[in-house]
């Protein structure tokens, strides 16, 4: 159970730069225990999240490439679970709200494009280096 807890903390921190509260961790563990959605069929995926966590690799850069290979890989699924829980628990509402007044939306878009390129390059490099 601890490994799921650590995994949840690591993935959550990657998104929100802080530790999740206990109820969030409980829900994350429940999704794993109460559904078959997180069953790992591919042996290569079994230690993937642990490896990323241990080596402190860039989750999102790597996930981008894994998603290109297989849309339903375990890392994408786990990140989606983090997002589903955070969107619906009422505590992260401002992050998902779409009526925020953006002072300069184009700045956000351009920054996103630049950051995307950077993350994708980092992801490609880390995947190659770590044989993922």
């Amino acid at each position: 159970m601890n490994s799921l807890k650590d995994e949840c903390i690591f993935l959550y921190k990657s998104f929100f730069n802080k530790k999740p509260d206990e109820s969030f961790i409980d829900n994350y563990i429940r999704v794993h225990n109460e559904t078959h959605l997180m069953e790992i069929e591919n042996k290569g995926e079994k230690h993937l999240v642990k490896l990323i966590e241990k080596k402190n690799l860039n989750v999102f850069g790597i996930e981008y490439w894994l998603r290109k290979r297989n849309k339903y890989n375990i890392l994408t699924k786990k990140l989606l679970v983090i997002l589903y829980i955070s969107e619906s628990d009422g505590k992260h509402i401002t992050i998902f709200k779409n009526d925020i007044a953006f002072l300069s939306p184009w700045n956000t878009i351009i920054k996103t494009i630049i950051k995307s390129f950077a993350l994708i390059i980092v992801g490609a490099f880390q995947i190659k280096k770590n044989g993922i």
């Binding site: 679970v81 925020i100 995307s116």
Partner: protein, 519 residues
Amino acid sequence: MEYDYLIVGSGPGGVSAARQLCYANTAILDVGYTPDRKFKHSKLSEALESGDMESLLGTNWETLDNIESEFNIHRKIKSADLRYVMNGEIFRVYDSNGRFITKGNGSYAKGGMANVWGAQLLKYNKKDLDEVNGWPISINELEAYYTELEDHIGISGVNDDMSQFLGESDNLLPPVELSITSKYLLNNYNLLKAAKPDIGIKVGRARVAVSTVDRNGFAKYKAGSTEFFKPTGEGIYNPKNTLDSLIQNKSISYFSNQKLIKYKEFEDYVEIITTNNKNEYNHYKTKHLLLACGTIQTAKLVLMNEQLTNARINFVDHPPILLPFIFPKCIGNIINNDYFPIQLTATLNNKRDMISLYHPAGMMKTEYLLQLPIPLNLSKNVLSLLLNSMLIAQIWETSTENNGCLYLDDNCDICIKYPYPKKKNIFKLIYLMFQMGGITVPNLASRYPPTWGYHHAGTLPMSLEPGLLQTHTDGRLWKYKRIRVIDGSVLPSLPAKNHSLTLMANSARIADLTKKCGY
């Protein structure tokens, strides 16, 4: 129990026939499964803000099902509260190579599939039927029923440029409110058209069964983006409302918890056997039996009764294409999500494809994140900006090729074999939308799998000279006098438009013919 008319099924087809046959010793039977819980929020934003995770993700995390595979479960039945309406017969869909594509369900709920419909109720016209061929009835035979149904249901919309395609209608209710992006597109269309009359596309307001005013004792539509979380709500027409009125007026009898398992025709009557959830059997007698269990369920029922479980029958569908358009000028607009999702309709000149333009709301943001080809954390940051400036085109094509089939497997479960349609050229649409301020890339177009749009038809098609597993133009099964089919099964092919109103009009027509048949 003896009735003159017995209708099985309380969806759009069954209720439409019941309206014609009321006060005539008529009964409706259905399974009438009812929910044991309800999505208790009037707005999606309310549920999100309150942190009602159980309502949003389901008691058993049902909403997460698609993270395993996109087509694992239809978006419309992901939520726990919508699943009850779609808990009817399961069907599995395979492509032409026998590869599993997806699975779906019929409905056992009062109101049937209308509980999850998009509420576009559109008339076919002569051109539609000319294009699909094979319809043994003319559009004139449906006209009067269309008009009467439109009056009864209340359709919102406008007689505008799309009237050439959708037909002129009297008594339209005011149209649904447009989002800023939809207004922008419509304005650009009008400007473009003023400069050059023949621009190659027509755009107009959506025609939907949504009451934009309080009407007939029902409150007007309250926008709340909850369509993916609960059955059709206030202001959206549901045959269930009509059925409740008919029951209240005592103009028909209604029996729920009855699943038809067997019918048999005798010289002067039809006998049917139903079962309930306690596995008790009930017997009914009727002069005329009208089957309205839904295209797929009625087909199975007929195959089982005729002991033709090895037969393969026709199946018609039109799998839609989805293509998102972003309107850069609208980026940064602050909008709420409380619009009816279907905003505009369009059609390309010289083609009869129908394009519905949707405001992307009603789902959790996480549902969209994988659609953006960038890392997930950045998708999350930029998605809200893009959604506000986006319209999603859903493209429906005419389905003339009868290349799908329905059959029962060894366990008598329903299987559908349907080849993925060929790739479609969407470049003209992309070019025309670009002229109106919308941009996209062809790679974002996705073809939904067969059956995904729930536009099913043609399993027991009408014919002037019906053969085995076909129907007469008055709905009678090929060799029967008193057993008729009145749902989508009898529509031989599908023009590009939504077929709900047509199956209702045809059902009313068959009910009328039944009444006048003289026996």
